[in-house]
Symmetry: C2
Subunit: 335 residues, 2 copies
């Protein structure tokens, strides 16, 4: 483990200057401070300093996700994490983050500079700079809905997408549906990949065929429905599973616009159970991700990593929430 002296001798500066850099003193230049921090990180000084922290501080970094108000996906994740962390007397900072910022400063450096012992990363994209840096970090870090191979300092938290989708298909099959379409979220996200595979697995285990014209990737927005719903209807779908509740709300609108009643003509199932889903017309049958539990589990997993218990994945149960957007299949003729 590198000491302050090692860092000083590597940089050819005094121990007190290194110490100033590490502690954020104002009488050295920002550039020198950054060099000290980068070198400290490179030499593995990270963990040592963090153990000395008087303040116990964790950070939630959040990207591509709204979390400010109760009806947004990230709100309860942040809430659950804080609730669990506060019980163990951690301070928790919540920091929205951009790709540009990740390019400008390394993850380990940011963590060291700000005295964070660990972090929970929510909403990051596979191609983000920090994601690629996480393969080598020593800082206890937990990802929501993402996964880093082989680094025992990094864990992940997710909902069981396989069981979730399977419960939705089970329900539709029990209502007599066979021509079930799937409008998934974005291509190239870990979650969409899992839900796609889950849909294929579940249809297979129910002995139902999957045709190409009944599966599509949209984006996680309601608007994607208008491109795909007409094709699903034309192909004879009687039910549509959706990658999330927003997509489902778009699917319901699009069905109505085209003269199909939900659930009388078409059954629709969402995913997430956002607060809005109970207030759609009809109220949405959906697969719930309990976001408070996800946030709490994010903290529990991080707490384990901080205690050197290398949890790789924590997977939470999905819950099936039956409302009014699904009904018995009424056989429909092809148009």
């Amino acid at each position: 483990m590198a000491t302050i002296k090692d860092i000083a001798s590597r940089l050819g500066i005094s121990v007190s200057t290194v110490s100033k850099g590490l502690n954020g003193a104002s009488d050295i230049s920002e550039e020198l401070r950054q060099t000290v921090l980068d070198t400290a990180v490179e030499m593995g000084y990270t963990t040592k300093r963090m153990k000395k922290e008087e303040h116990k501080k964790l950070c939630i970094f959040i990207e591509n996700m709204d979390f400010e108000t109760a009806n947004q996906f990230g709100y309860e994740i942040v809430l659950g994490f804080k609730q669990a962390a506060y019980r163990d007397n951690w301070e928790v900072a919540v920091t929205p983050i951009t790709p540009a910022f990740q390019t400008s400063e390394k993850y380990d450096t940011y963590m060291l500079k700000n005295g964070f012992s660990g972090a929970f990363l929510v909403g990051f994209a596979l191609h983000d700079d920090w994601m690629s840096q996480l393969s080598a970090t020593n800082i206890p870090t937990v990802l929501f809905d993402n996964y880093i191979r082989r680094n025992p300092a990094v864990g992940s938290v997710e909902t069981d997408n396989f069981e979730g989708i399977d419960m939705g298909i089970d329900h539709l099959v029990s209502l007599g549906h066979k021509k079930i379409a799937f409008l998934n979220g974005s291509l190239n996200s870990m979650v969409s990949d899992q839900r796609q595979q889950a849909f294929l697995d579940s249809m297979h285990s129910h002995n139902l065929p999957v045709s190409e014209e009944l599966t599509a990737y949209g984006y996680y927005v309601a608007d994607s429905a208008k491109y795909h719903v007409p094709n699903f209807l034309a192909a004879g779908a009687t039910a549509i599973m959706c990658g999330n509740d927003l997509i489902a709300s778009g699917v319901i609108s699009e069905c109505k616009k085209r003269g199909y009643s939900v659930p009388e003509d078409i059954s629709v199932i969402g995913f997430d159970d956002l607060p809005i889903s109970a207030h759609l017309t009809p109220p949405l049958t959906t697969i719930k991700q309990d976001r408070v539990e996800l946030g709490k589990s994010g903290y529990y997993t991080l707490s384990s990593l901080l205690n050197k218990v290398s949890i790789s994945k924590t997977i939470l149960r999905a819950q099936f929430i039956r409302r009014k957007s699904t009904a018995a299949c009424k056989e429909r003729r092809l148009e």
Copy 2:
């Protein structure tokens, strides 16, 4: 939620008799007590009574696994669980269990009778009576290396077998091995199934063919080696991955007996990193399951379930432990 009164009126007995049955008083017959308990469980009385418990008691049930001494697989699992649970002031009972006992008494009844709030089940077989009962239990329960679908009261803990096997294959491939055999544990266990799939996935991702003559299921005992090693050698294997360390110790003996040196002629990799593996000749390269961490995670997962956070799976990192039983591939001619 059923009350004592509900149970009394269902059975046509007095409230005080029900209370005696629930509290293990000595002045009612054992038969009546059992009836009271079974009825209480059936009517969903379980949780309520457990919340009233003064003593906080958990149980580890253990089957098919030795745990009494430090060199046995179960020892550190039990230890880790206790270490974590004691910090939260739980009492922990450790109860070895047989299939016959499971047939004689229901899981929920046993838990209620003994005042346990939750349990950690280690070493259970898929066909055990209690395993089938777990689909419907409301009692927070965590399984090691087993999985119950869809019941949010039941969670599981396991090591990442996929990453573990993949690290072993990576290592062998880096040493130039291509003809890699796999001697797995028992058929029809969740763990063996995962490791088999992991082996196939990893060979595939390394662009190596898998031939039927290079894969076999033994049992989790050293003796299984003598039936399969001769076939592997005849088929030109230069390395053998094993389902656990005991199998690997048998494989090493069998290779030696047939005039093959380990690792000069044949590389061997185990799984588990039991204490014996460092003392084999040669010391065994293996994939470690950290059993103290597994035990601790068993408790953390159970603790989450007790707090109504429905963790379905906790997966721990495997670790690659390089010792002396693997070496660069020396191309071998077929005999």
